[in-house]
């Protein structure tokens, strides 16, 4: 039971942590100063949320591991993030579409978690959703502006949608951990988020003059269970370098 909740909290924390790390890769390289700042601010919100989730995960585990130890001293197979968030930044279109797919799901999930039977989870969700509301407003707006933009921006956005679609199915596939926690009223049924998510994405992509791939397409899965693609290891190698090379180093 403790293991299930620990695992569930790692999923929430690792999604935020890994996406935050991806977004910080853009810092100093954004296509415009305002975009650079927006990405950095989104990354900052996510790292704050990751700290809250991982801090609580460490308490639940009860072995004295801190948020830092969980972030910097686990290997790829111990990470529980969705495959979507570990995908490389690619071009700006890829980064934005990844962000929109995640934000729109994240917002739905957090909204459900504000009613969790676990008051700590409900409290973190209530704090995080206020931040994620801004993330979603921004990413949805940019998907429309660039999808319905120039021929070139449209082409790039459509390619990003087509490439990343395969990683969206995992967001709605419950497993044993989800089911145990849902039965306790702690977690929510992720499968139930699928219809509202599809409705919103369908609407947004239509407004962006982009074609939505088939919801019935074959989907990748495994991130939530620790089976990751080849990209996560490289991300962790960079993120964890300092603590691996100089164990216990502090500011």
């Amino acid at each position: 039971m403790i293991d299930d909740k620990f695992d569930y909290l790692l999923r929430l924390g690792d999604n935020a942590l890994v996406l935050s790390q991806r977004l910080t890769e853009w810092v100093g390289k954004g296509p415009a100063l305002e975009e650079d700042m927006a990405l950095a601010n989104t990354a900052l919100d996510l790292i704050g949320q990751a700290r809250l989730w991982l801090g609580y995960a460490g308490e639940v585990e009860g072995l004295g591991r801190t948020e830092n130890q969980l972030a910097f001293l686990r290997d790829a197979h111990d990470f529980r993030n969705l495959l979507l968030v570990e995908q490389p930044n690619g071009g700006y279109a890829d980064t934005l579409v990844r962000q929109y797919f995640f934000d729109s799901w994240h917002h739905l999930l957090l909204d459900e978690l504000t009613r969790s039977a676990d008051p700590r989870i409900a409290g973190i969700a209530e704090k995080a959703i206020k931040e994620v509301t801004y993330h979603l407003r921004r990413s949805a707006d940019l998907v429309v502006r660039l999808g319905d933009g120039t021929d070139e921006s449209h082409r790039r956005m459509q390619a990003a949608v087509d490439d990343l679609w395969i990683y969206t199915g995992e967001m709605f596939q419950p497993d044993a951990v989800d089911e145990v926690l849902e039965a306790q009223g702690v977690a929510t049924d992720v499968a139930a988020l699928r219809e509202p998510w599809l409705a919103q994405v369908r609407h947004t992509l239509a407004e962006a003059t982009l074609t939505m791939p088939s919801p019935e397409a074959w989907m990748q899965k495994g991130g939530k269970q620790g089976r990751h693609g080849e990209h996560l290891g490289f991300l962790l190698a960079e993120m964890q370098f300092l603590q691996r090379a100089y164990p216990g180093a502090q500011w």
Binding site: E35, G123, K127, K130, E207
Partner: protein
């Protein structure tokens, strides 16, 4: 030389007034009390064993100022001779700009930052919209938003995120100056 006569258990009002002098590290024009970061001050126990418990709440989850604020709070009280100070961080209910004082809003404006307009509840995305699949739009310009430099309401959003997550970037079409708007949150 300024000497402080330590008082074993200063009054709650006195402690609040000391905390009201602690500046926000990122916007020094405004205090942490004006921002609504200090949620509660109380004495636990009595006599020599009495401990002062200060409860603070972070503005945004990732706000890097939170650690500095915690240090400043303890420093502000121990420098007044208080020895037993304990800090507690509470995240629920989540911080909102609705807790910002009128005085704080005026100070922000005088500092060149447009203060938040309206109530935070108006910023959330309506569940009915999500159900209908409607795209969450960028917020409409807060009504009554005016340039803190010249007062003109001819202003335009440049970016939803400014120099910190709590601010958006605007530009005034009249005096052409860019300015920060402290977002309603």
């Amino acid at each position: 030389m300024n000497t402080v006569t330590p008082v074993a258990t200063p009054s709650i009002e006195q402690i609040w007034s000391w905390l009201a002098e602690v500046e926000d590290p990122e916007i020094p024009a405004i205090s942490i009390v004006d921002l609504g970061i200090v949620r509660d001050v109380q004495w636990l126990g009595s006599g020599d064993a009495a401990e002062c418990l200060v409860t603070i709440t972070p503005t945004y989850s990732g706000c890097p100022a939170t650690a500095v604020i915690a240090r400043s709070v303890v420093g502000a009280l121990t420098s007044r001779g208080m020895s037993h100070v304990r800090l507690e961080t509470r995240i629920a209910p989540p911080w909102t700009t609705d807790w910002m004082s009128e005085d704080g809003r005026r100070k922000l404006h005088d500092y060149g930052i447009a203060p938040p307009l309206g109530l935070a509840a108006t910023q959330s995305i309506a569940p009915s919209d999500i159900g209908r699949g409607v795209r969450p739009a960028m917020q409409a310009q807060p009504s009554g938003l005016a340039c803190p430099q010249c007062g003109s309401t001819q202003v335009r959003l440049t970016s939803q995120f400014g120099s910190t997550p709590c601010k958006a970037l605007y530009v005034c079409e009249t005096c052409k100056e860019p300015f920060d708007y402290f977002k309603c949150h």
